[in-house]
C-alpha cells in the first residue's frame, strides 16, 4: 500500500447543482436536484441503485447533458475551465480504460490531454501503488487494480475537486483504509470531495456532509451529524433506510 497521499494545499472550488433535471425518452431520471459540495469537506452522495447518482455526477462533468437546471464547479460549467484536470478529477467507471492500454499508457493520455508534465504520470502511479504493474495491460488487471488506476486518473492533475463514483468497489480492506486516508487528506488540504457509495459504515467514518437521493429527487442534504442526530455506529444506515425504504 502506498504510504503517500496528496496533501498539497490548494484552494477548493464548490460543486453546485441547481434545479438539475434530466428526462430520457420521457422518463425523468433527475427531478430538480439541488445541492452544494463545499471545499474542505467530504460530501457523500447516497442513494439506491438507479437513484440518479451517476447521472448527476456525469452531468457535473458535462458528460451527460441536463434537460434543465445547471451544474457548476467554482461558479461555472466544468467545460469552461481552461485546464480541466487541475479543476476536477473523476473516477466514474473503473472499466473506462482500453483493455490493451497499460496503466502508464492510460495516464500518459490523460497527462497529455491537459499538458501535464511526464513526471505526473509516475507520481500518480506511485500514489496508488501501481508501480509494479504499470506496464500490464488494463485487460489483465483485477477490479481492485482497476479502481486504483481510476483513482490515479482522478488525482493525476492534483485537482481542486475530486468526484468518485463507488470508489470502494473491488478494494480490499487495506485499500479501503488507504482510500479513507486519501479522502481525508484531500479534504483537509481544502479540496472538495464528492463521493458516492453504498457502504454506509464507510461513509459514517469519512463523510462531513451527506446528500441523499432517490428516484431522481434529493431527499436530504445536510451535515452528517445533523442529519442522523447521533454518533452511534449504524445511525446513518438506519436513517437512510427510513428515508428510502428497505426495497
Amino acid at each position: 500500500m502506498p504510504p503517500e497521499s496528496p496533501t498539497t494545499s490548494r484552494p477548493g472550488l464548490a460543486v453546485e447543482v441547481e434545479d438539475a433535471s434530466k428526462v430520457i425518452e420521457g422518463v425523468t431520471v433527475l427531478d430538480r436536484v439541488s445541492f452544494t459540495a463545499l471545499p474542505g469537506r467530504i460530501t457523500a452522495f447516497l442513494g439506491p441503485n438507479g437513484a440518479g447518482k451517476s447521472t448527476t455526477l456525469r452531468a457535473i462533468l458535462g458528460i451527460d447533458h441536463l434537460t434543465s437546471g445547471r451544474a457548476a464547479i467554482g461558479g461555472r460549467p466544468f467545460r469552461e475551465h481552461p485546464q480541466p484536470v487541475r479543476v476536477a478529477g473523476a473516477l466514474l467507471s473503473p472499466d473506462a480504460v482500453h483493455p490493451g492500454r497499460t496503466a502508464r499508457g492510460h495516464l500518459s493520455v490523460v497527462a497529455a490531454s491537459n499538458g501535464l508534465p511526464r513526471a505526473s504520470v509516475a507520481a500518480a502511479i506511485d500514489l496508488v501503488g501501481l508501480a509494479d504493474i504499470a506496464t500490464v495491460p488494463f485487460g489483465q488487471m483485477s477490479l481492485g487494480m482497476r479502481q486504483r488506476l481510476g483513482l490515479a486518473t482522478a488525482l493525476i492533475g492534483d485537482p481542486a475537486v475530486v468526484i468518485l463514483d463507488e470508489p470502494h468497489n473491488g478494494l480490499d480492506a487495506a485499500a479501503i483504509r488507504w482510500l479513507r486516508a486519501v479522502l481525508r487528506a484531500l479534504a483537509d488540504a481544502g479540496r472538495t470531495v464528492l463521493v458516492s457509495s453504498h457502504l454506509m459504515g464507510e461513509v459514517e467514518q469519512v463523510a462531513d456532509d451527506v446528500v441523499l437521493i432517490d428516484e431522481g429527487r434529493v431527499l436530504a442534504a445536510a451535515p452528517l451529524r445533523e442529519l442522523v442526530g447521533s454518533d452511534a455506529p449504524g445511525a446513518l444506515e438506519d436513517h437512510y433506510l427510513d428515508l428510502v425504504g428497505s426495497r
Binding site: G62, P84, A96
Partner: protein, 243 residues
C-alpha cells in the same frame, strides 16, 4: 487543442492494435502495388508513379476502417467517459480526434507512397518512365480525407465493427454504383477518394465519365469538402449526445 491532439496521438501509440493497424494500413499501398506490378499488371503506357499508386484504394479503405475502429472504440470500451472528463469541451475533443486520425493517415500514406515507388521501381523492368512522383500527394490527401470520414463515422455509429461496414460502403459505393448515377457520375465518382488519386497520377488515362469535370485539383477540393461535411455531421452528433 494542441494538448488534446497530442493526447489522441498518444491514445493510438499506447494500444498495440491501434499502432499495428496504422502500420498495416500504410503497408497496404506498397504491398498491393507490388502484387499488381509483379503479376504483370503494369501496362506499356503506365509510369512507375502510376504503378506505385495502383494499390491506393486498399490503403484508403484500410485507413478509413482503422480510423473508424479507433474512434468507435471510445464507445465500445467506454473510454469516452475519461476522454470527456479530461477534455470536456466537445468541439476540442472531437476536432482533436479527427485531426489526429488525419495526421496519422496522411503521414503513413506519405511513407507508404515513397516505399511503394521504391518497390515498384525495383521490380519493374526498365523502359517505364518515372512519371510525376509529386502526384502521389493525391494518395496523402485522399488517405487523410478517408481517415476523417472514418473517424466521423466511428463517432456517429459508436461501434467499431458497424462503422467498418459503413466506411467501406462509403468508399466503394460511388464506383460500384457508377452506372446508376447518370449525369452525376463524373461529379460523384470523380470526387471519390480512389478516383482522385487516379486523376492525380494518370489523369489523361481516366475514362471521361469518371474524370471530375473541373480537373484533379478541383476533385481533391470537392473530396475534402465532402470529408469536412461528414466530419461536421459527426461533430454535431457528438455535441448533442450524452457521452
Amino acid at each position: 487543442m494542441r494538448s488534446a491532439w497530442t493526447a489522441e496521438l498518444v491514445k493510438v501509440l499506447t494500444v498495440r492494435g491501434f499502432r499495428a493497424g496504422a502500420v498495416l494500413a500504410g503497408l497496404a499501398l506498397p504491398l498491393t502495388s507490388l502484387l499488381v506490378v509483379s503479376s504483370g499488371g503494369l501496362g506499356d503506357a503506365d509510369t512507375l508513379t502510376s504503378g506505385a499508386a495502383t494499390g491506393s484504394m486498399s490503403s484508403l479503405v484500410a485507413y478509413a476502417a482503422w480510423a473508424a475502429v479507433v474512434a468507435g472504440s471510445e464507445y465500445t470500451q467506454r473510454t469516452i467517459v475519461v476522454s470527456l472528463a479530461t477534455v470536456p469541451r466537445r468541439p476540442v475533443l472531437y476536432g482533436a480526434k479527427v485531426a489526429a486520425a488525419a495526421t496519422i493517415a496522411a503521414a503513413g500514406a506519405a511513407a507508404g507512397a515513397v516505399v511503394s515507388l521504391l518497390v515498384v521501381a525495383a521490380v519493374t523492368p526498365s523502359g517505364h518512365r518515372l512519371g510525376d512522383p509529386p502526384a502521389l500527394l493525391g494518395v496523402v490527401l485522399a488517405s487523410g480525407a478517408a481517415a476523417v470520414v472514418g473517424a466521423a463515422i466511428g463517432v456517429l455509429t459508436r461501434s467499431s465493427t458497424g462503422s467498418i461496414a459503413v466506411v467501406i460502403a462509403a468508399l466503394l459505393l460511388p464506383r460500384a454504383a457508377a452506372g446508376l448515377l447518370g449525369g452525376l457520375q463524373p461529379w460523384i465518382v470523380g470526387a471519390s477518394p480512389g478516383t482522385v488519386v487516379t486523376q492525380f497520377v494518370q489523369g489523361a488515362q481516366l475514362a471521361a465519365d469518371h474524370a471530375y469535370p473541373g480537373g484533379a485539383a478541383l476533385a481533391a477540393v470537392t473530396m475534402l469538402l465532402v470529408a469536412l461535411a461528414v466530419a461536421t455531421l459527426g461533430g454535431l452528433a457528438f455535441a448533442r449526445r450524452d457521452g
